[in-house]
Subunit: 429 residues, 2 copies
């Protein structure tokens, strides 16, 4: 029997591209018996041909001309691992319009332009797959779109960024402050020189937007996601959290509520017995709740050369099967609902507040009455004397609407007995 060959091009040969190149090479013997076809990497688009030559066995597959890929009728699948919004966006659209299937790891693009990209795929009857855009190697998009398709998914909560999880783990386990842990992450190559996207929750926000769209069948874009970073978290906060039975994690939260979809990324206290609380170092994990499956969690490496390549090659294989069975486009956009996005002020949460107050008779009662007057009820409180005149108090509230809580904080912030509001962190559950 003649061996069927499916030809693939890749755009980009950075960390993830190199991983894909390696995984496809490792898979040479298994592809044909596994899929019924051989996947051949025919072209790789790179900026610098000379620099890229060292990374591949046969430099003749390298090109710096996008047209060579777009206009090659033999190429059925294009893997986009260039990153960034442009020219990636235009290239992907051109590939789809040229009748090619596309696999991408580009979360920036999918989180903002997913609708347009999936529409282009549908228009051309092709696949546009992006398993690698969320949580690296962890299978999560396909499980949500297929395995859990019989569920109404009500909540997704997860650790979507390895850099910040590494930093918070070091702060928790070794008592480091944020700056020190960030420097360590940079020294070890976990954090970039400009760590803004990780530390401020932007990277996680993109992943939450993509997953929320898949889970709730309603389009959520990165622009819908409320984000807050971890730079303000201190080792002191983490110590108090531990005393109260919690860990602090940077969590992405997406909920489908009767009033609309909540999507946000911010640091949160989470009960230490929750499975997410023990997800440490640079690992990611996604906790999914559905009406049938109940609780389920997916855990693994959220980034890195080979884990991300694992997700990309899984998508490529799926498309190969679709090509062989002539069913490309089998699963496209699943956003058939149109749910509103809930404004962050309308979201309810519990809060952890750490304050320095004047250490004298009556101040605690004043603080408590401000909370009470603003519909904020107190669940737990710890007070410690810091020095003769100032006491540190830590409060965990019950569920309260964000805007009521913020009203209370504004009043407290203006009171002379309050020396400092040191930390305000949300609490899960």
């Amino acid at each position: 029997m003649e061996e069927r060959v499916i030809k693939v091009a890749m755009m980009g040969l950075g960390t993830v591209g190199t991983g894909v190149y390696k995984v496809l090479k490792n898979q040479q013997e298994d592809m044909v018996p596994k899929l019924g076809a051989r996947v051949e990497l025919k072209k790789i688009l790179v900026r610098n041909l000379e620099k890229a030559a060292a990374k591949v066995d046969d430099p003749s597959i390298l090109t710096n001309s996008f047209e060579e890929i777009a206009n090659d009728p033999e190429i059925d699948i294009v893997i986009e691992v260039m990153g960034g919004k442009q020219p990636a966006m235009n290239y992907i659209l051109a590939c789809l319009d040229a009748g090619k299937n596309v696999v991408t790891a580009n979360k920036d693009l999918v989180a903002s332009e997913g609708k347009k990209l999936l529409a282009a795929a549908k228009r051309n009857g092709k696949d546009f797959l992006y398993e690698a855009s969320v949580a690296g190697g962890i299978p999560i998009i396909r499980p949500i779109k297929q395995c859990l398709a019989g569920n109404h998914i009500t909540e997704i909560i997860g650790i979507f960024n390895g850099t910040t999880n590494f930093i918070l783990t070091k702060m928790t386990q070794e008592g480091m402050e944020f700056d020190e842990a960030l420097r360590l992450a940079q020294d070890l190559g976990y954090a970039e020189a400009d760590p803004t996207s990780d530390v401020e929750g932007l990277d996680a926000g993109r992943k939450v937007a993509i997953l929320a769209s898949a889970a709730f069948n309603s389009r959520v874009t990165f622009e819908d996601v409320y984000t807050e970073g971890i730079a303000k978290i201190t080792a002191t906060d983490i110590r108090y959290a531990k005393e109260m039975g919690c860990d602090i994690k940077l969590l992405g939260v997406a909920k489908d509520t009767p009033e609309g979809i909540e999507v946000r990324v911010h640091p949160m206290l989470i009960d230490s017995s929750h499975p997410l609380a023990s997800v440490n170092d640079s690992y990611n994990a996604v906790f999914v709740t559905g009406d049938a499956v109940q609780d389920t969690m997916f855990y693994g490496r959220g980034e890195g050369e080979l884990p991300t390549a694992s997700a990309i090659v899984g998508d490529v294989y799926d498309i190969v099967r679709n090509i062989l069975w002539d069913c490309c486009g089998r699963i496209g956009c699943t956003c058939y609902r149109d749910r509103p996005i809930k404004r962050v002020g309308e979201i309810s949460s519990r809060y952890f507040v750490r304050m320095q107050i004047e250490n004298r008779y009556g101040t605690l009662a004043s603080v408590a009455s401000v909370f009470g007057n603003n519909q904020v009820s107190i669940a737990q409180m710890v007070q410690k004397r810091v020095n003769g005149t100032v006491a540190e108090i830590v409060v965990i509230t019950d569920q309260v609407k964000e805007r009521h809580f913020m009203d209370a904080m504004k009043i407290l912030g203006g009171m002379s007995i309050i020396k400092e509001i040191s930390s305000v962190i949300r609490v899960y559950g």
Copy 2:
């Protein structure tokens, strides 16, 4: 546009069947926009029509004649949730031969007859899907066959049985002995009146066989799996394990090694920092290691009406898509390798041994020399005096071939200074 209807039959209306019925009902509004077709449950095969009538809205869909399903050309998909080997096996084969796709949760059948069933599906160009047969609602078969298809999976280790995990959790957290924890599990409905299949590791063994086949692309049957249960585990063992930084779990282990495939289920000590160690109560979890994805874990409800139904409906939806795209049979048997099964004596492991020895000068040296003479090296040891004449010692060994270890145990068992070999438990890692 005319609404396309895909007609489905179900065989069985026990716990899982009732769950499937409920989930399909909950999904009425979402099916058409999600899939492009409506799934209609046309017939349910039951033994007792009268008893079953109370469980459905319209008793006219009930039948006690298998032929009514097999001979109905309108029925495209049959869900088998009767359980047991026969008549389920014959019914499934007849359905496939009648040109119907089949979804099953029947682990007994898939673990022993998977090859024959997948061959029948292939012969007829139909789908035979069994996501629900392993770990209930947790997506695991599809992630392995598709998302992780670009990996050489080297190891699967997991908690595959909720009943035994509940029992061990109670023994660990509340110091209960096995009998007491089993009775509690029975009272709460987690364990059956005859708990053999759960407690002896047979249930877990079936799931490990199914997953090993999918992960290593080589057929593994239940008959290949070495199984040992948890009835011999004591609260004392668990306390010593904790002292040594470990928890005791009933683990299913499957490894693809150069000498063949290892597949076994037995209690094991596992480092308390391993993600599986904190999987408690009746939860299941599967830890998968591959050359690209590295470590990944899937966690959730391993059984129960709705979680298992979640997996079944996911499979049904996948088949509906395949029917609409005319690509049934798209992913069938993926066992294209033929690897030998490693004999249990050839497997290497670390061991935890608890013994009562004579409390006098020289006995410890004698014990140590028996280990040494049999190539067993000692990694950790704890000795406690039990009473004046007997001391309790606990040893954790380094990696050793099972047969060398057993030789050492045989010699120790025959020595007069050894009063009792109380426990022998394997240690992971």
